[in-house]
Amino acid sequence: MSVEENFAKNSEFNLSMVPSKFASFMRTCVIWQFIRFVAINLKMIIVVRKSH
């Protein structure tokens, strides 16, 4: 079932946005997520360093 069907379930859902199949897939795509793992860690390290 496509998440787009959720738009019809209530008026608040209808004004929201949902990820495309591609965006959903990328969220758990191990190779892409490994790259994001490195990127997010770098971003977090910068904020942690700025805060100490």
């Binding site: 998440v3 959720n6 738009f7 379930k9 209530n10 608040e12 859902f13 004004l15 929201s16 946005m17 949902v18 990820p19 959903s24 990328m26 969220r27 758990t28 795509c29 191990v30 997520q33 490994f34 994001r36 793992f37 997010i40 860690n41 971003k43 977090m44 910068i46 904020v47 942690v48 700025k50 805060s51 100490h52």
Partner: protein
């Protein structure tokens, strides 16, 4: 030889005590007073609450760790502070009541040179009729994930709900905040999304209605007035992403809600527009409002000075600007920097125990005058950073005398990294990884969003889950003072 007494061994107190002891060495004493024998990595209680981890995975005994570190551990709760001593003695002390170490119920006076109040929140279930049991604990109508034991109970109840759903009985789940003045929406966010994830894994999601209820004025406020982040060339509000996630996962929301009464299977609430409603449930996890630990304070003559040291909610006054002022006049500079008590310079408060000058989200009231707005979160990273700064200050005061420079850690100048779980699993898990800078918005410095959008971002995916899982092990490693613990940041 000076004695530092730390009240509370949570994120803030444990950080203060362990760093202070490391820096002070054996020439000075560090005493920790805390009622639990176990240390708990609270963020992972979410996974205990859905059966993804056991209690043993998230706790460990404190006594051996403190013994190894040379910290004097008292399993007791602090009852009162006497900053001026008593008749015949100027030495300040705290009164404690033992909860373990074979001294249950016994009281003792522990003198101090420096005192840190890191007693965190009291889970104030009784603020909402039916949420508490009338004796300070949680009632039988809802569950909680705020302590490891609560989370174990929640997971047992959730299992039964899933079993009923499997048998074809439609089940209603309600998750969110149990009062108009709650904080910690992030924990409820994690729990509702973990329930969704587990329900899908168990193949029962179609038979389970999951609904969100919270005191936030908009979804994604999280008690921080939301956040704006850069995504694909746009700067957007966290509301857009929160609403998207709830829509994608078919989780409708009720927001701006003050839950004012709970009955078996039913929550009553008032909304920001003044209307009222009720929501039925088979299973509900509603975060209680937080109060301070409820300690009293007395002067030398034995007069009650609790209201001089603590605000009405029980949080300790420090060096913030507590003058009441309208929202438009709130400034980043109102927020405390050193966490030194304003009246007694040898007392500090760290973590949730300090009194914030005001909330962070925009204040809101229903037409009936009911305040419905999140109170300010003080999450793990700020609590740890504040705990360490306070340890630094006290060590310098002990070593260099009362003119030593105090270390600063304003929440309006520090950022926070936060990873909110949205489901557990090595390849199927997801979490929203976020950084926010600064925690308290500074609209003078960053007009428009109040924050630096270069350092404020959020992203959901499996990578976030991996980070959350690694952090679970890292922080428990650090709290156990295992090799390299000082290198792991707060």
């Amino acid at each position: 030889m000076a004695r530092l007494v730390v009240l509370g061994a949570g994120v803030a107190g444990h950080t203060t005590a362990t760093f202070a002891k490391k820096w002070l060495g054996n020439g000075h004493e560090v005493v920790v007073v805390t009622p639990n024998s176990l240390w708990n990595w609270i963020p992972s209680n979410i996974w205990v609450g859905v059966g993804g981890m056991s209690k043993e995975d998230v706790v460990f005994p404190l006594a051996p760790v403190y013994q190894k570190a040379g910290i004097d551990f008292r399993q007791a709760k602090a009852v009162s502070i006497h900053p001026e001593g008593k008749d015949g003695s100027d030495t300040p002390y705290v009164t404690v009541e033992y909860t373990g170490q074979n001294k249950e119920g016994q009281t003792e006076e522990i003198t101090y040179d420096y005192l840190v109040n890191a007693t965190g929140p009291k889970l104030n279930f009784d603020a909402t009729p039916g949420l508490g049991n009338g004796e300070g604990g949680i009632g039988s109508n809802t569950v909680s994930v705020c302590t490891a034991d609560h989370a174990v109970h929640a997971s047992q109840e959730l299992k039964q709900v899933f079993e009923k759903a499997k048998r074809g009985e439609r089940q209603k789940i309600l998750v969110g905040t149990g009062h108009g003045m709650c904080t910690c929406q992030g924990a409820a966010f994690e729990y509702i999304h973990n329930i969704h994830h587990e329900a899908e894994k168990a193949g029962v999601r179609d038979n389970v209605d999951i609904k969100w209820i919270s005191n936030e004025a908009f979804l994604g406020d999280f008690g921080m007035g939301g956040m704006h982040m850069k995504v694909n060339g746009y700067v957007v509000s966290s509301r857009i992403f929160a609403e998207s996630l709830y829509t994608e996962r078919n989780i409708p929301w009720i927001i701006g809600a003050h839950v004012n009464k709970i009955e078996e299977g039913k929550a009553h609430y008032e909304l920001l527009d003044g209307s009222t409603g009720e929501e039925e449930f088979d299973f509900a996890m509603l975060i209680p409002p937080f109060a301070g630990a409820g300690m009293k304070a007395y002067d030398k003559a034995g007069e009650d000075i609790t209201s001089k040291i603590f605000n009405p909610g029980g949080f300790m006054f420090v060096d913030g600007d507590y003058a009441p002022k309208p929202y438009d006049e709130w400034k980043a500079a109102d927020w405390p920097r050193t966490y030194q008590n304003r009246d007694y310079k040898n007392i500090f408060a760290a973590g949730i125990a300090f009194a914030p000058p005001h909330i962070i989200s925009k204040p809101a009231k229903s037409p009936n005058g009911t305040p419905i707005n999140p109170t300010p979160p003080r999450t793990g990273m700020p609590s740890g950073i504040i705990g360490k700064a306070v340890a630094h200050s006290i060590v310098d005061l002990i070593k260099n005398g009362s003119s030593a420079h105090l270390h600063e850690a304003s929440m309006a100048e520090m950022g926070a990294a936060c990873v909110a779980s949205a489901g557990k699993g090595l390849t199927g898990g997801q979490a929203a990884a976020m950084t926010i800078y600064p925690v308290v918005p500074d609209f003078d410095k960053y007009p428009g969003t109040g924050r630096d959008t270069e350092y404020t971002f959020g992203e959901i995916g499996l990578a976030g889950h991996w980070i959350k899982h690694i952090l679970h092990h890292l922080f428990i490693w650090k709290a156990k003072l295992k090799p390299g613990w000082t290198l792991i940041p707060e």
